[in-house]
C-alpha cells in the first residue's frame, strides 16, 4: 500500500461521504443525535486537505498522522474509534509493512481490534463493527488463500453491504441507540453505513488501480 494510494483514497472517501449525506445523516437522526454525517464530513475534509503535507511521508507515518488528526477533529463516538483504527494500522504497517494483501489484512485487523478495545464492543451490537469485523475476517482469509487484490476487493464490498444490512434488525447495546431498546429495530446503524461507504470506495479504487 503506497502513500499515493492512501491519499487518493482519502480524497475519494471524502467525496463518497458527501455523496451519501442524506442516508448517513438521516440514520443518525433516526436512532442517534443527527450529527454523524457532519462529524464524518468534518473529519474526511480535514484529511483530504493534508494531501500535500502527507505526500512525502512513508505509508505508516501517513496512517498514524491521519489517526491523530481524526482524533482532534471528529469528536463524538466515531472520532476516537476511527482515530484508533488508523493509529493501530500505522503501528502494524511500520512493524510488518503493508504491501502484500496479507500484510494489509493484518494491519486492517489490528485497526478493527483497536476499535473493539476502545469501544468495548463486539459484533452484533449494532455499530460500525458489524461491517468492520466481517470485512476484516474476509480480508484475512482471502489474502491467506492467495486471492488477488481485485478478487478480495469484490468480496469485501459484498461483505460490507451484508454487514451493514445486518444492523437493521439488531437492538443496539452500544452507542446512543442503546437507549432505544426495541425502537432501534428496523433502522440501519449510521456508523456502519459510513464504514460501508468508505470501504466500498477504497475497494473500487483498488479494482481501478490494479
Amino acid at each position: 500500500m503506497k502513500t499515493s494510494f492512501i491519499l487518493s483514497a482519502s480524497l475519494a472517501i471524502h467525496a463518497a461521504i458527501v455523496a451519501h449525506e442524506a442516508d448517513i445523516e438521516s440514520l443518525d437522526r433516526a436512532i442517534g443525535d443527527g450529527d454523524h454525517y457532519i462529524n464524518m464530513k468534518r473529519g474526511t475534509e480535514v484529511i483530504a486537505s493534508l494531501y500535500n503535507e502527507l505526500l512525502p511521508l512513508p505509508p505508516d507515518q501517513v496512517l498514524n498522522k491521519i489517526g491523530m488528526k481524526l482524533l482532534s477533529t471528529i469528536g463524538g463516538a466515531s472520532g476516537p474509534l476511527f482515530a484508533s483504527f488508523f493509529m493501530s494500522m500505522g503501528k502494524v504497517a511500520k512493524e510488518n509493512g503493508a504491501d502484500t494483501p496479507l500484510e494489509m489484512a493484518a494491519a486492517f485487523a489490528a485497526g478493527v481490534q483497536s476499535i473493539m478495545q476502545r469501544g468495548k464492543a463486539q459484533a452484533g451490537e449494532k455499530t460500525m463493527l458489524d461491517v468492520l469485523i466481517p470485512v476484516s475476517t474476509t480480508f484475512t482469509t482471502s489474502a491467506a488463500a492467495g486471492k488477488s487484490t481485485i478478487e478480495i476487493a469484490h468480496e469485501i464490498k459484498q461483505v460490507a453491504a451484508t454487514g451493514l444490512e445486518s444492523t437493521r434488525n439488531l437492538i443496539a447495546t452500544k452507542g446512543r441507540a442503546a437507549g432505544l431498546g426495541e425502537r432501534a429495530i428496523g433502522h440501519l446503524d449510521a456508523g456502519a453505513k459510513s464504514c460501508q461507504v468508505m470501504i466500498t470506495t477504497v475497494c473500487d479504487l483498488m479494482i481501478k488501480e490494479a
Binding site: E25, R29, I31, G32, D33, G34, D35, I38, N39, R42, L71, S72, T73, I74, G75, G76, A77, S78, G79, P80, L81, A83, R118, G119, T173, K174, G175, R176, A178, G179, L180, G181, R183
Partner: protein, 332 residues
C-alpha cells in the same frame, strides 16, 4: 430552521466569544484547541474539568468559576470534544493536586476523555454522570445517560475541591452525588441541530416523547400529550422506581431541579415544579432545596426534565456553599 446565526461553522466560536466577553470577570476563552478557564487560575486544589458537546448551554462553560469548575471543553453541537482540548485545559488549570474529569456518560464523551486521560501527565480521575433513569440500565448497554443531574455533581465537587480536598475525596463525592441523583425528561417538540437544518425528530401536536435525551435522542416511549400533572406523575414515578431499584429510600431531604430544555417558558417550569413538589411531598420526600430554570438544555427543544437528588449533610454543605459562575451564583 430559523436561528440567530451568521454561518454554521462560526456559530460556536461567535457564541463562545460573546460568552467570554459578557463574563470576562469569570471566564477566559482559549482557542486552538478550544477550551475555557477561570479568569483567575486557582492554586493548590484539584482541577475540576468538564466538557461535552455544545447545545446544552449554560452547561458546561456557564459553570466555570469559584466554587465550581476550573475549565470546560465545548465540542461541536451535540458532539463530544476531543482529547487535545481536554489535555490543553488540564495543562492550563492543573494546580498540583491532580485533575478530575466530570463526564456525562455517552460513548463519545467517555472515549474522548478516556484517551485524554491516558495521555495526561498528572494524577487524574473521572466521574461519569448517569442520572437519566429513562434508559433502563442493563449489563448489555453502555448504561445510563448523564443529564441535568450533572449540574449538581459539578456544583458539589467544585465546592469540595475549593477546600483543598484530595482527588480521591472529590471523585468519591462526585460518585456519591451521581448515585443519589435521578432524572427524567419529556420533550414536546424536537430540537434542530443547526448543521442538520431540520428537526431531529417529527412529533405530532398530540404527542410527547417520554424519557427523551438532551440531544433529542428518542426516549422510552412516544406517548399522547396530556395534562402537566399526568406527565409529571409519570416522571416522578419513574424517579421513585429508580431510587427503589438503587435501594435508596426517598423519604429524606431532597433537592428538586426542574430543568428547561431551552424553549419552555419559566411559567411552565414553575408549574411543573409545583406539580412535582406536591407529588413528592405526598410520598414523604422532604424537599429542602429547589432549582428551576434552563440549566441543561437541548438547543431549542420544548420540554423539561425533573431531577431529584437525595441529600445528606455533606451534599447539603457543598450545594449551599458560595458559587460564582455565569450559570449558578449565590453566596458571593
Amino acid at each position: 430552521m430559523k436561528k440567530f446565526i451568521n454561518n454554521i461553522d462560526n456559530m460556536l466560536i461567535e457564541s463562545l466569544s460573546g460568552f467570554a466577553t459578557a463574563h470576562a470577570d469569570i471566564v477566559r476563552l482559549h482557542v486552538e484547541p478550544t477550551f475555557l478557564t477561570r479568569t483567575q487560575k486557582a492554586s493548590n486544589k484539584v482541577a475540576i474539568i468538564s466538557g461535552g458537546g455544545a447545545g446544552h448551554e449554560p452547561m458546561h462553560a456557564g459553570y466555570i468559576g469559584k466554587g465550581m469548575l476550573d475549565a470546560a471543553c465545548p465540542g461541536q453541537v451535540f458532539t463530544s470534544p476531543t482529547p487535545d482540548q481536554m489535555l490543553a485545559a488540564a495543562v492550563a488549570v492543573h494546580a498540583d493536586k491532580g485533575v478530575l474529569f466530570i463526564v456525562k456518560n455517552y460513548a463519545g464523551d467517555v472515549m474522548n476523555f478516556e484517551m485524554a486521560a491516558e495521555m495526561l501527565p498528572f494524577e487524574h480521575a473521572t466521574v461519569l454522570t448517569s442520572d437519566d433513569c429513562a434508559v433502563v440500565n442493563s449489563t448489555y448497554t453502555t448504561g445510563r445517560r448523564g443529564v441535568a443531574g450533572t449540574v449538581i455533581v459539578e456544583k458539589c465537587v467544585g465546592s469540595l475541591a475549593e477546600t483543598g480536598a484530595d482527588l480521591a475525596s472529590c471523585k468519591a463525592l462526585g460518585d456519591k452525588v451521581n448515585l443519589r441523583t435521578s432524572s427524567i425528561g419529556v420533550a414536546l417538540t424536537s430540537c434542530t441541530v443547526p448543521a442538520a437544518g431540520r428537526a431531529t425528530f417529527d412529533i405530532a401536536d398530540t404527542e410527547l416523547e417520554m424519557g427523551v435525551g438532551i440531544h433529542g435522542e428518542p426516549g422510552r416511549k412516544r406517548e399522547t400529550m396530556r395534562s402537566a400533572d399526568a406527565i409529571v406523575k409519570d416522571c416522578v414515578d419513574a424517579i421513585l422506581a429508580d431510587f427503589a431499584h438503587k435501594g435508596l429510600t426517598p423519604q429524606q431531604d431532597a433537592l428538586v431541579l426542574v430543568n428547561g430544555f431551552g424553549a419552555t417558558p419559566l411559567m411552565e417550569l414553575y408549574l411543573i415544579y409545583h406539580s412535582a413538589a406536591t407529588l413528592l411531598k405526598a410520598q414523604g420526600v422532604n424537599i429542602s432545596r429547589g432549582l428551576v430554570g434552563n440549566y441543561t438544555t437541548a438547543l431549542d427543544m420544548a420540554g423539561a426534565s425533573i431531577t431529584v437528588c437525595l441529600l445528606d449533610d455533606e451534599i447539603k454543605q457543598h450545594w449551599d456553599s458560595p458559587v460564582h459562575s455565569a450559570g449558578l451564583r449565590w453566596g458571593c
